[in-house]
């Protein structure tokens, strides 16, 4: 798998030729733009997603509140956009952090070989065998103050967000590590690596300048697919009350609140669920499209 010199261009062309992947990419960009523009939108329209107005709760859609209001009288549209920002951020940051760990461990394992490789692969196998969801629940339930983290961090609004990203990265790196290792094992025997070594390049330079670019394409595919799964996982944990904590909105914890109001206000459950579904679907189609664009020979994934 050698990425041509103009890798970005060829990927873009491959994705464009794949209609569903192109649509998926457009949807994701549109969602991201809308979500990250949430503060701007709320400023322009003069509505604040955090303002609680109990007199105006569960209102039907109106000009003032295009999607109505939630159980605390907050504007649903702004809440959805802010929740989307958290969900998308978790997906992107979680999968990238996992990919980062995976790349480092995989490339060291594959390039160094021998005992280092054997040890790192045993660790990888061990992590793969762990039951993910129950462990995530244990980790998410840990009381941060008992770990000895400073009080102002544990009580800060975004602490739960950082925690969930960290926890997901901690378990999500195995796919990328194995992909990178397999690629690095093949690439390190190639002439250009020998040439680089002969020219006096150190192992670090060889690993990241010569080996990494040649093994990166399956990593891009896996990271895209992982991003979708991370968003799903975040929503599950938040739904169980262990993920992103209110007042910070995420699509998962909005659903958790909506569950109790299913009968009186089903719309509250419809919107966030549909958005999660749409986003994860888009990530999966994009990943599939990238897979076909980057590696048309091997179609199987998941």
């Amino acid at each position: 798998m050698i990425v041509p010199t103009k890798a970005g261009k060829s990927i873009a062309m491959g994705v464009r030729r794949n209609r569903p992947a192109a649509i998926a990419a457009l949807i994701l960009v549109a969602l991201a733009v809308a979500c990250f523009a949430a503060p701007l939108i709320s400023h322009l329209f003069g509505i604040d997603g955090g303002t609680v107005n109990l007199l105006a709760r569960l209102e039907a859609p109106s000009f003032q509140h295009p999607l109505g209001t939630d159980e605390l009288g907050r504007d649903l549209l702004i809440r959805l956009l802010e929740g989307g920002r958290v969900s998308l951020l978790t997906g992107a940051a979680g999968s990238c952090a996992a990919a980062f760990i995976g790349i480092i461990l995989g490339i060291v394992s594959g390039y160094a070989g021998g005992r280092t490789d054997a040890a790192l692969m045993r660790v990888t196998d061990g992590v793969i065998a762990l039951p993910l969801l129950p462990l995530l629940i244990v980790l998410a339930a840990v009381d941060m103050t008992k770990v000895g983290l400073p009080e102002q961090f544990t009580t800060s609004e975004s602490a739960s967000l950082y925690r969930i990203i960290l926890i997901i990265a901690l378990f999500g790196w195995t796919t990328v590590a194995r992909l990178v290792r397999a690629g690095a094992l093949a690439v390190r025997e190639r002439e250009f690596v020998l040439a680089a070594r002969a020219l006096g390049s150190g192992p670090l330079r060889i690993m990241f300048r010569h080996v990494l670019p040649n093994v990166i394409s399956p990593v891009i595919v896996a990271t895209t697919l992982t991003a979708g799964n991370v968003i799903l996982l975040e929503s599950v944990l938040s739904f169980l009350g262990l993920g992103v904590q209110p007042p910070l909105a995420s699509w998962g914890n909005m659903l958790s609140n909506a569950q109790e109001l299913m009968w009186s206000a089903p719309a509250l459950a419809m919107y966030p669920g549909t958005l999660i579904f749409l986003t994860v679907l888009a990530f999966n189609f994009l990943g599939d499209g990238l897979q076909q664009a980057l590696d048309p020979r091997r179609r199987r994934i998941l």
């Binding site: 569903p20 979680g94 999968s95 692969m121 045993r122 196998d125 061990g126 793969i128 065998a129 762990l130 039951p131 993910l132 969801l133 129950p134 462990l135 629940i137 244990v138 339930a141 840990v142 009381d143 008992k146 770990v147 997901i168 378990f171 999500g172 195995t174 796919t175 194995r178 992909l179 397999a182 399956p218 896996a222 697919l225 992982t226 799964n229 991370v230 799903l232 996982l233 929503s235 599950v236 739904f239 169980l240 659903l255 569950q259 299913m262 009968w263 089903p266 459950a269 669920g273 999660i276 579904f277 994860v280 679907l281 990530f283 999966n284 189609f285 179609r299 199987r300 994934i301 998941l302």
Partner: protein, 330 residues
């Protein structure tokens, strides 16, 4: 099931892997994992001594200290863990605080409930997914392939708990056809119990349908690209016969391996669905015991879940070599 670890390299696992080494490794993973979880549980909100103090306001700090010593909570973490490990190894799983029963008595029924639920949804999913995947692979990039792919991706991408909520909203609340939750086993006659299965099984089936279909389609596509399939077609073998008699056996190899891997998720795979439907299975047991500070139960259940996954992956490797004699583990 939802997992951040996308399964990519299940089938090109390194060759050199003796069963013995794998078993040793499994034991190592279990030990490390049990120690880690033992330590983590101590870091969760709530403290057993605090619970006792809140239950009896008459307790003095001296009593609390004595209780701590009585339960060995004043000892270092490693010693406490070792003590727990030895008693578990000798068959004493401890007492469940939440259920007020010995842990061993709690696990049995929960395991049975989960097995029923996951077993039926798994069979149903296979029954639908395998033909769909094969049918899609027979004409790649056709409208029907796109449609099947879309359905499969939908199954992979839908949040299972949300699907469950929507199903409850429509079939239990709006139409009133089916119960919203609970388990009918034992309490009802045969047909009545089945009604409790419909919604959770539908949720789980749709959630696993996508991955199964994609898998079958991918495996079949790969086999249909082989030279011997072209030879068979050139001989004039019809499309149906090519698939059933020439391709299916080889295409089933990765699929069967997946079945073994899913066996490993038996304990925790239905956690979310069980929680939404109040289904008293292993997944909900694990969740409730973690949230309810029921340390004995949580530890044992988590260990079992891990052991299951380890056995599943070992089984997958063994089945794979058995079905495909070209693969040898040196």
């Amino acid at each position: 099931m939802i997992d951040v670890r996308v399964r990519l390299t299940q089938f090109d696992s390194p060759m050199a892997r003796l069963i013995l080494a794998r078993l040793l490794q499994a034991v190592a993973v279990l030990l490390i994992m049990s120690f880690a979880v033992y330590g983590l549980i101590g870091l969760m909100p709530g403290d057993p001594i605090d619970l006792m103090i809140s239950a009896d306001p008459g307790l003095t700090p001296a009593d609390a200290a004595r209780l701590k010593a009585l339960y060995g909570l004043d000892q270092p973490l490693f010693q406490r863990w070792l003590h727990w490990l030895l008693s578990v190894a000798s068959g004493d799983l401890g007492y469940s605080r939440l259920y007020a029963k010995p842990v061993s008595e709690v696990l049995g029924p929960a395991f049975f409930n989960t097995l029923m639920l996951l077993g039926s949804s798994f069979l149903l999913s296979m029954f639908v997914a395998l033909p769909l995947g094969i049918w899609a692979a027979m004409r790649p990039n056709s409208p029907r392939d796109y449609l099947i792919n879309l359905t499969a991706f939908a199954g992979i991408s839908i949040p299972p708990f949300w699907l469950a909520l929507m199903l409850i909203a429509v079939f239990a609340v709006l139409l009133g056809w089916l119960p919203a939750g609970g388990v009918g086993i034992g309490s009802d006659n045969g047909l009545g119990a089945v009604r409790y299965f419909v919604l959770p099984v539908a949720t789980l089936t749709f959630a696993s349908l996508g991955a199964h279909t994609r898998f079958m389609r991918g495996a079949m596509l790969e086999v249909l690209g082989e030279d011997y399939i072209r030879t068979a077609r050139a001989k004039g073998v019809g499309p149906f016969r090519v698939v059933v008699y020439h391709a299916l056996r080889n295409a089933m190899i990765p699929v069967v391996t997946i079945l073994a891997l899913e066996f490993g998720t038996l304990f925790s795979g239905a956690l979310v669905t069980e929680t939404v439907f109040a289904w008293p299975g292993m997944g909900r047991l694990i969740f409730d015991s973690i949230m309810g500070n029921d340390f004995n139960l949580a530890l044992v259940a988590l260990m079992l879940a891990t052991a299951m996954t380890l056995v599943g992956s070992l089984l997958a490797d063994l089945i794979y070599t058995w079905l495909d004699p070209r693969i040898r583990y040196e």
